[in-house]
C-alpha cells in the first residue's frame, strides 16, 4: 500500500490567474474607475492620432474668423489668430500625454532602483539616499524648472526633466517602503539558500511584487505631471508658443479674459478632465488592490 | 437562587461580507450570576470574542445581532445608544487582548483612567486624579503617582494590561468581560494578571466573563466553564465537574491535548490532536458542527443539530453521544 496520498482529481487552480480574475471583477464593479480608464484611453488615442483627428492645422491662422464662437466649422471657436480651438486642444493632448508619461517613466527609472537599494541594504546607503531625496524635495518642480530653464532654455524637454526629477522622491519612498517589507518574506532566505545573489533577489523576487503599488503611484504622478506641464507652459517655462499646449493656450487666453473668457475655459476643462480621469482610475486601482477591500 | 445578573438568550451574530454571510454565533444562551466567574473556552474563530463584544453592541456595522441580552432587567440589544453608553464602562466593562494597541498612544495613563471617572461618576479633575492613583495601586502598579503622567509606550506589557484593568474596574462595574487578557503576555506575567483578577472578584464582587483558549487559565480562575465550537455552545458545567467528567468529544479532545508531565510509568502518552478543521461558518448546517471530526459521528449527528441536554447535575452538553470514555 503506497504511503503517499492518492491524488484527489480536484482541478489545479493557478493562483495568479485567479487573482487577476478577482481584480478584473472588482474593477468592473466600480463604474467610476472604468469611466476613468475609458477617458484616459480616449486622451491617449487623441494624442497618438492627433494629425488624423484634428479638423484643422493647429497653427493655421484665419484672420477672417478670429474670436469665433462655437460654430459647425469651429466647434469650440477660434482664438485671436483665428486658430481652431478644438484642433489645438487635440494637439495639446500630445504635449500633455508625452510629458505625463515620459516624466513618470523617468522618475521611476531613477527612483525605483535607488529606493530598492536603500531598502535592501539599509545602513549608510539608506542614509545617503534619504539625504539625496531630501535635497531633491527642496527644489519644488517650479523652482527646478526655473533653474533648468536657465541652463537648458525653456522647452518640452525642460518640462519633462523638471517634472520627472520632482517625482523621484515619492517613488523612492514607495520603492524603499515596499522593499523593506518584502525583504522580510520567507521566500527570500529560501532563494538565498538556493544560491541567488543580491541582484537576482532584488529584480526577480522583490520587484515583481511591488508593481501594483508602483502602478498606483504612477496614476497619481501622471495627472500631476499633466497639470505641471500646463503650468510650466503657461509660465513660459515649458512648451513655447506657438506650439499647441493646454498651458500656452491658457497663457494666450489670459490677455483676453474680458473679451473671450471661453478661450480660458476649454483648455482648462481638458486639463481637469484628463487629470480627473487619471486620479479616479488611480483611486479605483488602489481600492481594488487593498487587501482590506471586501468588494 | 438569586436572579442572574446577565441573561443571554438565543444570541446570533451574522456578518455580511462580500462573499456572503458568515454566521459567527448561532443561538448562544447563557447566564451569569452575581460575582460569578464564567470561563468561555474555544479555539480561534469559534465565536467567543464576537459573543462577548455583542453584549454591549461593540461590533462593526456589518454585524447583525439578534436574540436578547437582559442585564439588570433591560434588554441591551434594544436599548437606545445613549442609554447603552451609560452601561458601557460603568456597569459592564471590558479588558481586551492587546494592551499596547488598546490604549491610546497619545494620552497619558492618568488621562485615560480619568476619562471614565469624569464621564460616569462626574468626578472633578482633581478627585479623578486621586481616584486614578488609588486604582493604580489596586492593580499593584508601583510608583502610581508617577505612572499617572506617563504614556502607554513607556510601560511594559504587563503594566499596560494592569492599567486596562484599572480602567475597567474604575466605576465598580457589575460585570467585567476579559477577552483573552493574558494571551499577548509572557507566561510569567500571566500568573500575575490572573491573580489580580481573582483579587478583584474577591474584593469588589465583580462578576467576570473570561474568554480564553487556554484551559489552564480557566482551571485556575473560573467557577463555571462554557465550551464553544463553531459558534454554538458545546458544553457547560462547573469547572471541577468539567475537568473531571467531560462529556462532549470536543472537550475530551481539548483536555487530551493538554501537555502533561511524564510521570515515568509505561510508555509516554501521545499528545492527542483533534483531526480535521473547524467548518466554514458560511452556512448553518442542520447537523452537529463537530461531526466531521468526531469519532462518535453517525447518521444522526450528520442530519440534526444536537440539542442541549443536562446529562449530569448542572452539566449540559449538545451531543447525541455524550460520555466520558475515550473518544
Amino acid at each position: 500500500m503506497s504511503a503517499l496520498a492518492e491524488p484527489t482529481g480536484a482541478p489545479v487552480v493557478d493562483p495568479r490567474a485567479r487573482r487577476r480574475r478577482l481584480l478584473r471583477r472588482r474593477f468592473l464593479r466600480r463604474p467610476m474607475a472604468v469611466a476613468g480608464l475609458v477617458v484616459v484611453l480616449a486622451f491617449v488615442v487623441m494624442a497618438i492620432f492627433a494629425p488624423w483627428l484634428a479638423p484643422f492645422d493647429p497653427s493655421a491662422t484665419d484672420f477672417n474668423a478670429t474670436f469665433a464662437h462655437g460654430t459647425a466649422r469651429h466647434l469650440l471657436g477660434t482664438d485671436e489668430f483665428g486658430r481652431d480651438q478644438l484642433s489645438r486642444i487635440i494637439w495639446g493632448a500630445r504635449a500633455s500625454m508625452q510629458v505625463g508619461f515620459l516624466s513618470t517613466l523617468l522618475a521611476m527609472g531613477i527612483a525605483v532602483p535607488l529606493g530598492m537599494v536603500a531598502g535592501y541594504y539599509r545602513g549608510w546607503i539608506d542614509t545617503v539616499i534619504a539625504r539625496v531625496t531630501d535635497v531633491l524635495l527642496s527644489f519644488p518642480f517650479l523652482i527646478l524648472a526655473v533653474g533648468l530653464a536657465a541652463i537648458l532654455g525653456a522647452s518640452l524637454l525642460n518640462a519633462t526633466l523638471a517634472l520627472g526629477i520632482s517625482a523621484v522622491p515619492a517613488f523612492i519612498r514607495i520603492a524603499r517602503g515596499e522593499t523593506l517589507a518584502l525583504r522580510e518574506e520567507d521566500y527570500i532566505p529560501a532563494a538565498v539558500v538556493n544560491g541567488a545573489n543580491d541582484a537576482t533577489i532584488i529584480f526577480k523576487h522583490i520587484l515583481p511584487n511591488m508593481t501594483s503599488t508602483l502602478l498606483v503611484q504612477a496614476t497619481v504622478t501622471i495627472p500631476g505631471a499633466i497639470v505641471g506641464e500646463a503650468v510650466l507652459s503657461f509660465l513660459g517655462l515649458g512648451v513655447q508658443p506657438p506650439k499647441p499646449s493646454w498651458g500656452t493656450m491658457l497663457q494666450d487666453a489670459q490677455q483676453y479674459l474680458s473679451q473671450a473668457p471661453r478661450l480660458a475655459v476649454y483648455p482648462g476643462l481638458a486639463i481637469v478632465l484628463a487629470a480627473l480621469a487619471f486620479n479616479v482610475l488611480g483611486d479605483g486601482l488602489r481600492d481594488i488592490l487593498d487587501p482590506r477591500t471586501t468588494r | 437562587m438569586p436572579a442572574p445578573l446577565l441573561e443571554v438568550a438565543d444570541l446570533s451574530v451574522r456578518f455580511d461580507t462580500d462573499d456572503g454571510p458568515v454566521h459567527a454565533v448561532d443561538r448562544m444562551s447563557f447566564t451569569l450570576g452575581q460575582g460569578e466567574v464564567l470561563g468561555i473556552v474555544g479555539e480561534s474563530g469559534c465565536g467567543k470574542s464576537v459573543t462577548c463584544m455583542s453584549l454591549v453592541r461593540l461590533l462593526p456595522e456589518t454585524a447583525t445581532v439578534s436574540g436578547s441580552v437582559v442585564f439588570d432587567g433591560r434588554d441591551l440589544l434594544a436599548l437606545p445608544l445613549r442609554r447603552l453608553r451609560q452601561v458601557r464602562g460603568r456597569e459592564i466593562s471590558y479588558v481586551f487582548q492587546e494592551p499596547m494597541t488598546s490604549l491610546n498612544p497619545v494620552f497619558t495613563v492618568g488621562h485615560q483612567i480619568g476619562e471614565v471617572l469624569r464621564r460616569h461618576l462626574g468626578l472633578s479633575r482633581s478627585s479623578a486624579r486621586a481616584r486614578a492613583i488609588e486604582l493604580l495601586r489596586l492593580v499593584r502598579i508601583p510608583a502610581a503617582d508617577r505612572r499617572l503622567d506617563e504614556y502607554p509606550h513607556q510601560l511594559s506589557g504587563g503594566m499596560r494590561q494592569r492599567v486596562m484593568i484599572a480602567i475597567a474596574v474604575a466605576c465598580d462595574p457589575k460585570v467585567l468581560v476579559a477577552d483573552e487578557p493574558t494571551t499577548a503576555l509572557d507566561v510569567t506575567i500571566q500568573a500575575g494578571i490572573l491573580d489580580l483578577m481573582r483579587d478583584i472578584r474577591e474584593r469588589l464582587g465583580t462578576a467576570i466573563i473570561l474568554i480564553t483558549h487556554n484551559l489552564g487559565v480557566v482551571a485556575d480562575v473560573a467557577d463555571r466553564v462554557l465550551v464553544m465550537y463553531a459558534g454554538r455552545k458545546a458544553e457547560e458545567a462547573p469547572v471541577a465537574e468539567l475537568f473531571a467528567h467531560p462529556q462532549h468529544p470536543y472537550t475530551i479532545g481539548l483536555l487530551g491535548a493538554i501537555p502533561r508531565p511524564y510521570e515515568g510509568e509505561g510508555t509516554r502518552a501521545r499528545l492527542q490532536e483533534i483531526p480535521g478543521r473547524v467548518p466554514s461558518l458560511r452556512e448553518l448546517p442542520q447537523a452537529c458542527a463537530f461531526a466531521d471530526r468526531c469519532p462518535r459521528a453517525d447518521e444522526l449527528t450528520r442530519s440534526e443539530i444536537p440539542p442541549l441536554r443536562e446529562v449530569r447535575p448542572h452539566h449540559v452538553v449538545a451531543c447525541f453521544h455524550p460520555g466520558e470514555d475515550g473518544a
Binding site: I143, Q254, N279 | S102, F107, Y151
Partner: protein
C-alpha cells in the same frame, strides 16, 4: 525629543549644503562664460574683469563655492541686472509671499480637516461621496485655471474683488480684498490633499483598538471621534503637510503670477524671463533654504504632537 531634533537639524544642514552646491553648479553649467551670466550680460571687458575678480572665477571650483557661500551668509547675493542688490529685493518680497502662504494654509486646514473627518465618520454615505468627489476635483483642477476663472467671475463680471495687485498689511481691508481670491485658490488645492489624507488617516484611527476601548468605556461618539481618533490622525496629517511645502512654494509662484502680486514667487518668474542669472541663483538658493527651514519647523511640530518622540 532633543535627540530627534538634533538629528533632524543635522540632516537639514546637510541638505542645505548639498542644495547650495547644486545651485552653485547649476549656474556654472549655463552655457557660455559665467562672467557674462553673473554680470548681467554686460560684455564690457572692465565689468567682466570686475565680475571675475569678485566671484574668484579664476580659482578652482571648491574655492569659488566657499567664497560664494561666505558672501551669501553675509547677506551678499550679488547684484541683479538693474544693479539692485538681490538680497534686498528678496527680503522685501518674501513677507508678501509668506502672508499668501500662511493664509492659504489657514484656508486649507479650516476646510480640509473637518471635511476629512466628516467623510471618514460617514463613510459610504452621501456626505462621504460628496466630500471625496470635491476633493478629487480639487486635486485635478490646476490652481492657475481656477484663479483665471475666479478672476473672470469675481473681478471682470461682478467687480466684487480686484483682479490683481497687492496692498500691504498696513491697510488691512484692502489687503484682505486683494488676498482673498489668491488665498482661496491656493488653499483649495491644498485642502483637497488634506481632506483625502485626513479621511484616510481617520479611517485608520477609527478602526484601531483604542477606539474600541474608548467605545467600550461608554464615551460619547463625539469624544471618540474628535478626541481619541482625531488626535492620532493629526500626527499623520502633520507629516503630509510637510510634504506639501514644496507644492505650496510652487503654488505661491503660480498664484502670484496670475494675480499680479509682486511677491517672491513672481520674482522667480521674472528672473527667468529676464535671464537675470544672478537673481535666479539667489532666488533658487533662498527657496531651497526656505523649504529646508520650513520642514524643520514641521519636524518640531510633529515631535510636539507625538508623545513617542516627545517623551522617551
Amino acid at each position: 525629543m532633543g535627540g530627534f531634533l538634533i538629528r533632524r537639524t543635522g540632516a537639514a544642514l546637510v541638505v542645505l549644503v548639498a542644495a547650495s552646491m547644486l545651485v552653485f553648479l547649476g549656474v556654472r553649467a549655463i552655457p557660455g562664460d559665467p562672467a557674462i551670466a553673473l554680470g548681467a550680460e554686460n560684455r564690457d571687458p572692465a565689468v567682466l574683469a570686475a565680475v571675475r575678480h569678485k566671484y574668484l572665477l579664476d580659482k578652482p571650483l571648491p574655492v569659488q563655492y566657499g567664497h560664494w557661500i561666505w558672501l551669501a551668509l553675509h547677506g551678499d547675493l550679488g547684484v541683479d541686472q538693474r544693479e539692485l542688490p538681490v538680497a534686498h529685493t528678496i527680503v522685501t518680497r518674501l513677507p508678501i509671499s509668506l502672508e499668501l502662504a500662511l493664509l492659504s494654509m489657514l484656508v486649507a486646514t479650516l476646510v480640509g480637516l473637518p471635511a476629512g473627518v466628516i467623510a471618514a465618520v460617514r463613510r459610504g454615505k452621501p456626505s462621504d461621496y460628496a466630500v471625496t468627489a470635491v476633493a478629487l476635483v480639487g486635486l485635478s483642477v490646476p490652481h492657475f485655471w481656477l484663479g483665471l476663472l475666479m478672476i473672470i467671475w469675481f473681478a471682470v463680471d461682478l467687480h466684487w474683488l480686484p483682479a490683481s495687485g497687492y496692498v500691504s498689511v498696513a491697510h488691512p481691508l484692502a489687503n484682505f480684498e486683494h488676498m482673498l481670491m489668491p488665498a482661496l485658490v491656493l488653499g483649495a488645492g491644498l485642502s483637497a490633499v488634506l481632506m483625502r489624507q485626513m479621511r484616510s488617516s481617520m479611517l485608520n484611527s477609527l478602526g484601531a483598538d483604542y477606539v474600541r476601548t474608548a467605545r467600550a468605556k461608554g464615551l460619547s461618539e463625539w469624544s471618540v471621534v474628535c478626541h481619541h481618533a482625531f488626535r492620532n490622525s493629526l500626527i499623520t496629517v502633520t507629516t503630509v503637510m510637510g510634504l506639501q511645502l514644496g507644492a505650496l512654494i510652487s503654488g505661491v509662484v503660480i498664484t502670484e503670477t496670475i494675480f499680479g502680486i509682486a511677491g517672491f514667487g513672481r520674482l522667480t518668474i521674472d528672473a527667468v524671463n529676464q535671464r537675470d542669472y544672478t537673481l535666479i541663483q539667489g532666488v533658487v538658493l533662498v527657496s531651497a533654504a526656505a523649504y529646508v527651514f520650513a520642514n524643520l519647523l514641521v519636524d518640531v511640530v510633529y515631535s510636539l504632537l507625538n508623545p513617542r518622540i516627545r517623551v522617551t
